[in-house]
């Protein structure tokens, strides 16, 4: 064995799976953040519903808080449940 790697510093970039879509609530692309935030990424995460719709977490929370009776997905009107 002439050459052996002792340590390796690798680099990876991450993005949302839904990166190319827009948030159905604020209409901003998912590679950007919601209107209340300044920075995309960890600071303004995305969340998925069991209906498979995805939103900025801040957007859907605001939406759900504004709903009086039933908490429905703004896209498909099914009951909103966070995907585990």
């Amino acid at each position: 064995m002439k050459v052996k790697v002792k340590s390796w510093t690798a680099v990876a970039t991450w993005r949302w799976i839904a990166n190319d879509d827009n948030c159905g609530i604020c209409r901003t692309a998912f590679d950007g953040c919601c209107p209340d935030c300044k920075m995309p990424g960890d600071d303004c995460p995305l969340v998925w519903g069991q209906c498979s719709h995805v939103f900025h977490m801040h957007c859907i929370l605001k939406w759900l808080n504004s709903q009086q009776v039933h908490q429905l997905c703004p896209m498909c009107r099914q009951e909103w449940k966070f995907k585990e």
């Binding site: 050459v3 790697v5 390796w8 510093t9 690798a10 680099v11 991450w14 990424g41 960890d42 995805v54």
Partner: protein, 810 residues
């Protein structure tokens, strides 16, 4: 009861002391009204005694000798004696009606004596009578209403004398200096004589003159006589003034002249109140002629610093002249005249001829002098400031515009700025206008070349923040960053800076090349302060990613230990949030299976914790610490710090002894140019851990590569740098392209934002709003293109009737 003058005078003697003192006391106020000067008079020095004398002494008869009660002795004290309480003898005098009768020839006799004394004074002979006698005689005459005739008689005697002096000054005389000296002697004598005469006739001066506003004081009468008989004579006045002007001119050409003579004669002219009319006018004309010609000649003959020194010397000489002999009222017109002739008329020539060279050569002292001199003129500083600004723009442009000098541009700009700051501070008195002009000029020239200065400033910062830069201490680095920020402030295309800065920062963070975290953070906060949080939020995000990655790696290591995986190598991963970092091309390369496995383990671990994410490996940014075993039987083990690509090439030699370029390409799947650079760094650099056949600097098709079994190096741990050059050229182009693309998006977004808000807007208003919002330089034609494009894409539309009016399309 007639008394002879002699007796009368004798009888006075006892009172003399008291009288004299009293007289002196009241002298004080009176003397101030005279034009007599300290140096000519003597009476003024008696002031101290006066304090002892009460002013309240009652007025008494001056002819004390006529007082009947006292044997001819003055009894000044008698009223006091009479008032003494308890005095048995009461003497009451009522209606003392008998007037004293003077001898018929009293006036003539007395005047004769006085005249004799005056003439003795005029001839500088000793006076027969004591001054006290004479004084008393004057007092007596005045008290007998002889004042007016006494005054006239005295004036006549003086006039005769002064008139007799005229002749010596009107006759031919060759030497003007002798002439001036003679006139001065005559004047000095006159003053001295008038002081003596006045002190004898003081009582006259004090009573008669004061009571008659039309009568001049004795001193002024003397001046009048001197003026009308001597100095008003055309010939005398001409010769005198010409003589004075000649003396001054010869002093101006460097001769030593008699200051006291000049001073005395000029004071004479002032005292005679003809200084301004007879002398000053001609003096200023002569000055203007002399310096007018001198300025014209020297400003061309001499170098600017020499000329300035000369002007400074001239100004100093002239103000000395004022101190030494000219009347102080001449100061303003004289200095103004010299300033105009030597400076004001030549400002343009001086600045044009000399300023650039002085600034170039950093001639601090000369510049200080220049500023100090120009400060005296009306428009000098304004002009200096304009030339200063022109110099900065000209010099700055040559630094910025020449692409051959790109390597040194930033350092040169910093040096240039420092030099100018120093000049501003030490030479130009921190003048606020100059300071503003300096900034404006910098901003002007630095933006004459688009983008490049921004890019180079970013590179310069990278250079200073990169590890291995040991040339500066923390404090020095901090100061340097501050200076860089000053340059940065002038640059319009801040987005270009950001793009390059970000690219370099990424390298420093990912390859562990940053010299100091403190310095990085400090630079970041400076940028934030300058451009606001939006500008730096992504840069801050990069630092945050680095922190988060550390946490994740800590958790991953614990996870691996838990899983009891045999760790073949130590893996750490930097996980970057896309959008914060520069964009990297995704590359698929071939990794050894153990590395692939490790990578997969991490990916599973990460995505498990962060759902909804995608992970993309960036092999071009990876690096490794590799153990290399050279010389088969010896124990020459080295640790190599290498990139992932270099590692992949080296690992091949575990499997075989030699590989062609093509074989390596196939085995690693590294992109061709990247691979050639990698091989070049391993086989053609300073530490050659593989051998290229045939030898040569460039990697050619068909080249073969062997493991360098004979590799030797004095160090145990060796860092093998990637060959950088070509990479940066490519990077530079892509970075710039990305900036331009980003600008287009920003323009589009701004147009839509404005139109959405305003609904309808004319072209011009839209463009001006855009210029307000956009933070980078952009041409109107580019804006027009973006507007067209948005119309095509139905974001907005043209007004049907007016093509210069746009409407927002919802």
């Amino acid at each position: 009861m007639p008394l002879s003058s002699k007796e009368k005078i004798a009888s006075c003697k006892t009172t003399l002391e008291a009288n004299t003192r009293k007289r002196r006391a009241s002298d004080n106020n009176h003397l101030h009204t005279k034009r007599a000067r300290d140096d000519l008079g003597t009476g003024e020095h008696r002031q101290s005694e006066a304090k002892n004398m009460g002013e309240a002494t009652p007025k008494r008869a001056n002819f004390s000798a006529l007082n009947p009660s006292n044997n001819g002795f003055n009894s000044r004290s008698s009223p006091l004696v009479n008032n003494k309480p308890g005095t048995s003898k009461k003497l009451v005098i009522k209606n003392f009606k008998v007037k004293p009768v003077l001898p018929a020839n009293y006036q003539q006799q007395t005047w004769d004596r006085l005249k004799e004394a005056v003439q003795a004074i005029h001839k500088s002979r000793p006076i027969k009578y004591s001054l006290e006698e004479l004084y008393q005689a004057v007092e007596n005459m005045c008290s007998h209403k002889m004042s007016a005739s006494l005054y006239d008689q005295l004036k006549e005697v003086c006039e005769q004398h002064v008139a007799s002096q005229t002749g010596q000054f009107t006759s031919e005389m060759t030497d003007s200096l002798t002439y001036l000296k003679q006139l001065n002697t005559c004047w000095q004598d006159h003053c001295r004589q008038m002081i003596m005469i006045r002190s004898i006739f003081l009582f006259l001066d004090r009573t008669y003159v004061l009571q008659n506003s039309l009568v001049s004081s004795l001193w002024d009468m003397g001046l009048d006589l001197f003026r009308s008989h001597i100095i008003s004579n055309r010939t005398v006045q001409n010769r005198t003034v010409e003589g004075l002007l000649m003396l001054i001119e010869s002093e101006r050409t460097g001769d030593v002249v008699d200051h006291s003579l000049l001073k005395s004669l000029l004071r004479m002219l002032s005292d005679l109140q003809i200084y301004e009319e007879a002398f000053e006018k001609r003096f200023l004309e002569a000055t203007q002629m002399l310096y007018g010609a001198e300025g014209q000649r020297l400003v061309h003959e001499r170098e600017v610093p020499e000329y300035l020194t000369h002007v400074d010397k001239r100004l100093e000489e002239e103000s000395q002249r004022i101190l030494h002999y000219l009347d102080h009222t001449t100061r303003k017109p004289l200095i103004a005249c010299v300033e105009k002739q030597l400076l004001e008329d030549h400002i343009g020539t001086i600045l044009q001829k000399g300023l650039d060279r002085l600034l170039e050569a950093n001639r601090v002292d000369d510049l200080t002098l220049l500023y100090r001199l120009l400060q005296r003129t009306k428009n000098g500083l304004h002009d200096l400031c304009q030339y200063f600004s022109a110099f900065i723009k000209k010099t700055g442009t040559t630094i910025v515009i020449d692409s051959e000098k790109d390597k040194t541009m930033v350092q040169e700009l910093l040096d240039f700025k420092e030099k100018l700051d120093n000049i501003l501070q030490t030479c130009f008195a921190k003048n606020e206008k100059f300071s503003v002009s300096l900034k404006d000029s910098f901003e002007n020239f630095i933006n004459k070349r688009l983008n490049k200065p921004a890019e180079l400033v970013a590179k310069y910062v990278d250079n200073k923040l990169r590890a291995g830069n040991k040339e500066a201490t923390e404090e020095e680095l901090e100061r340097l960053l501050d200076k860089i920020m000053v340059l940065f402030r002038f640059i319009h295309g801040k987005d270009v800076f950001e793009a390059f800065y970000k690219k370099d920062l990424a390298k420093r963070l990912l390859v562990g090349k940053s010299a100091s975290v403190d310095a990085e953070k400090s630079m970041l906060s400076k940028l934030k302060q300058e451009c606001g949080g939006a500008f730096t939020s992504k840069l801050e995000g990069m630092f945050k990613d680095m922190e988060l990655s550390k946490d994740i790696m800590f958790a991953f290591k614990q996870h691996m230990q838990h899983q009891c995986h045999a760790t073949v190598m130590d893996l750490s991963v930097n996980i970057l949030t896309m959008g914060y970092w520069p964009t990297y091309k995704p590359l698929e390369i071939h990794l050894p299976s153990e590395m692939v496995n490790l990578q997969e383990q991490f990916k599973r671990f990460y995505l498990d914790k962060h759902s909804g994410r995608k992970l993309q490996w960036q092999p071009s940014l990876g690096h490794c610490l590799v153990k290399g075993q050279f010389r088969e039987e010896g124990s020459s083990v080295k640790e190599l710090q290498v990139s992932l690509y270099q590692t992949l090439v080296l690992l091949l030699f575990n499997e075989g002894d030699n590989y062609s370029l093509e074989e390596i390409a196939q085995a690693t799947n590294i992109e061709d140019s990247e691979l050639r650079r990698t091989l070049q760094s391993l086989a053609c650099g300073k530490a050659r851990v593989i051998v290229k056949l045939p030898k040569g600097r460039e990697i050619e098709d068909g080249d073969k590569f062997l493991f360098a079994n004979e590799f030797k190096h004095k160090l145990f741990r060796i860092k093998i740098n990637q060959v950088q050059m070509k990479e940066t050229v490519e990077e530079q182009v892509t970075t710039q392209e990305r900036v331009f693309q980003d600008r287009q998006y920003q323009i589009d977004a701004a147009i839509v934002r404005i139109m959405k808000m305003r609904k309808s807007l004319s072209h011009n208003l839209l463009v001006s709003e855009l210029y307000n919002q956009l933070r980078f330089p952009v041409k109107p034609s580019d804006l027009k293109k973006r507007i067209e494009s948005l119309i095509d894409r139905d974001y907005m539309e043209r007004d049907k009737d007016n093509p210069n009016q746009y409407h927002y399309v919802a």
